[in-house]
């Protein structure tokens, strides 16, 4: 068995997994960097260099799910180092097989579902007049599942090894993501009346904001987005303000 200290050392290193991310081989430096403390315990001399070269290859997955793969790969490397030759041919197959599917699952679960859900819940709390509590709620709601997957997943990966594929199939990640998206939608629409009521400081600004918001909503549904949309909206507010002044005089 590998030392618990080495395993924790590697887990902490996963927090730097994407530091040297690049367009050519993506997370390959980070993956190798995370595995190094454990490879050093398992291999010596030329065998260690060979192991480093083996893992200094293209790698890309969701950063929170990477430890699951790292745990499983560590287990296979350990079995290999202890003489179970069958593990050797599975190391790269497992790595390549899991990184794509876990990448897609992680993107859908964390980026597209849990993050908006946590953010909208936090926004509701903030709009109720508790900005500090809102920040804490966001970080807790998001990071409890995050660290559960990151650190718990590494443990499960290590314990199950090659069997991790069967273990992962037991969890219905797409359904979980759908439920979180539905939750995010509920929270977003809960925030809508609170937003309309609390953000705008004056009645006319409030009405203007809501009306422009409706226009913007229609624009977004047509596929406009981001910086261009925001500047378009700014242009619209300035134009409306100027027209107002021409017709009714300056409000000041």
């Amino acid at each position: 068995m590998l030392g618990r200290l080495a395993f924790w050392h590697a887990l902490v290193r996963t927090l730097l997994l994407q530091a040297a991310w690049n367009f050519e081989r993506m997370q390959h430096i980070g993956f190798c960097y995370v595995l190094l403390p454990m490879l050093r315990l398992l291999w010596r001399g030329e065998a260690l260099s060979e192991a480093v070269r083996r893992h200094y290859q293209f790698f890309n997955t969701h950063p929170y799910f990477a430890p699951v793969i790292i745990g499983a790969v560590t287990r296979l490397e350990e079995d290999w180092a202890q003489g179970r030759a069958s593990s050797a041919r599975h190391v790269n197959t497992l790595k390549l097989g899991l990184m794509g599917s876990l990448g897609a699952v992680g993107d859908s679960l964390f980026w597209a579902a849990l993050r908006p859900f946590s953010a909208w819940m936090a926004i509701i709390i903030m709009l109720l007049g508790q900005p500090g509590l809102g920040i804490i709620a966001f970080l807790v709601l998001y990071n409890v599942p995050h660290f559960l997957v990151r650190f718990g997943g590494a443990g499960v990966g290590y314990v199950t090894g090659l069997d991790i594929v069967r273990q992962l199939r037991k969890v219905d990640f797409p359904n979980l993501a759908q439920k979180l998206k539905a939750g995010a939608m509920t929270a977003a629409f809960t925030a809508l009346p609170l937003l309309a009521w609390s953000i705008a400081p004056r009645t006319d600004a409030r009405v203007g904001a809501v009306l422009l918001g409706v226009v913007v909503f229609a624009l977004v549904r047509k596929g406009t987005g981001g910086t261009r949309l925001a500047f378009g909206y700014l242009g619209a507010t300035v134009f409306v303000g100027w027209i107002w002044t021409v017709l009714f005089g300056d409000p000041q």
């Binding site: 939608m185 809960t190 203007g208 910086t227 949309l229």
Partner: protein
């Protein structure tokens, strides 16, 4: 000067959290905006800026090799301006801060792409060393990459704050009432753009019941609060 240095240090830390380090989401505008707003003594303006920037790029996820606009840098630029100037206390002025910070999202995207390209060169250097049997550079590479990205973010913010502070003064000094109102409405409506982006990304047609239930809950909550 000390405020600027602290602001840049905080800005660099949260920008690194985005991809390179931790990823515990202290980089999200919804955290950065209210936190910097509280630092400036204007928590509500911070909340308005944070909510405004949070979902502006909801449809641009960091999937595969796609690098989305850097909304963290934009949030630091917008809410950080409250701290840097120390004079922003109205929705209209905060609206100007938001407008000045918007281009930072695209600038930050450029910085992110540049940092990733530099990482590619770092990888090539490691390749050459590994061909000679030396792989020790792998231990240092993440830290070198981290330092390069931190330097790039710090440099961007160092240029931005004095420039944006000057632009804010120029724009708001003796400005007409209609322009002031326009910027107040701009900031007030920015969260609605976020809401539209976010819900469009979640696809409301798939969750019509969630949207209706949410709206009803929001109205009840509002009635309770008011």
């Amino acid at each position: 000067m000390l405020t600027l240095a602290l602001l840049i240090a905080v800005g660099v830390l949260v920008c690194l959290d985005r991809t390179q380090l931790l990823q515990v989401m202290i980089s999200r505008p919804i955290v950065v905006g209210p936190a910097l707003g509280a630092w400036a003594g204007e928590p509500l303006l911070g909340v308005a800026l944070g909510i405004g920037f949070e979902f502006l790029y909801a449809g641009r996820l960091p999937v595969g090799s796609h690098v989305p606009p850097n909304d963290t840098l934009a949030a630091v630029g917008g809410a950080g301006l409250l701290v840097f100037t120390g004079t922003i206390d109205t929705m209209a002025e905060a609206g100007v801060a938001a407008a000045l910070a918007l281009p930072l999202a695209e600038v930050g995207r450029g910085v992110d792409i540049w940092a990733r390209k530099l990482n590619g060169r770092l990888a090539q250097r490691i390749d050459r060393q590994m061909a000679q049997g030396d792989w020790s550079q792998i231990e240092r590479a993440p830290w070198i990459a981290l330092a390069m990205a931190a330097g790039a973010y710090a440099g961007t913010l160092l240029l931005y704050f004095p420039l944006a502070g000057w632009a804010l003064d120029m724009l708001t000094d003796g400005w007409p009432g209609w322009l002031e109102g326009a910027f107040a409405v701009f900031l007030a409506g920015l969260p609605f753009i976020g809401l539209a982006e976010s819900t469009a990304n979640l696809d409301p047609r798939r969750f019509p019941r969630s949207a209706v239930v949410g709206l009803a809950m929001g109205i009840v909550l509002l009635l309770l609060v008011v």
